[in-house]
Subunit: 127 residues, 2 copies
């Protein structure tokens, strides 16, 4: 029952293959960060943020714990632990008729969890 | 198609009637704040937080913009503006076989939005 685009996303989380991610993202994909209001526009920027997130959570106990599906969208709730800090969040994913992701929004709770993620993302995005 | 429990919740957001909220919450309801990790246990504490949130967002342009439904759960995405700061969040609601809310989790982005909500909630919860 898992939509193919979501299964491919979950596979990407497992293998971190940037080529798989590029294939998954629409050219006009937009990334909405949990930290900053301004959206990141386009496939390249969206991929940069998602690759960084995959690196931040790679090697942690990151896992999806619950899913909700709409016609062309999904909510995936995840949990992970970063140096003892619990991160509880959601990925809100919308896709187009071709099964490509057009919008990827992340929200994270609690404040300490978000504060644990922000500097780790910033370091990778600056690198 | 909106589950009755969610329609009653949306009605509560409109009328702020604490008696309606009490009726909606299971005795062992748990509230998961966007700010703090530790859950708030029980109907009374959950109601206190939800009443405070309803007050914080009452009189703003708060509105639900998208919904996802599971068998006994829903995700409601909302947006609001607090003194010019955009708040984008989700309510993650689970209910029991009697249609009473057993779990209410909130996540908010971006960081500035969360930072706008926290002191307003704290002021009401202290009062």
């Amino acid at each position: 029952m898992t939509p193919q685009v979501i299964q491919r996303w979950i596979d990407y989380i497992g293998n971190h293959d940037p080529a798989v991610l590029d294939e998954l993202l629409a050219e006009d994909a937009v990334f909405y960060s949990p930290a900053v209001f301004t959206p990141q526009q386009g496939r390249a920027k969206t991929a940069t943020y998602l690759n960084a997130a995959a690196k931040v959570f790679g090697g942690t106990d990151f896992r999806y714990v619950e899913q909700w599906y709409g016609e062309n969208s999904a909510i995936l709730e995840f949990t992970a632990t970063l140096d003892g800090i619990v991160v509880d969040g959601i990925d809100m994913i919308h896709w187009d008729a071709d099964g490509r992701i057009v919008s990827f929004k992340v929200m994270i709770r609690p404040l300490k969890g978000l504060q644990a993620v922000i500097p780790r993302m910033a370091e990778l995005l600056a690198g």
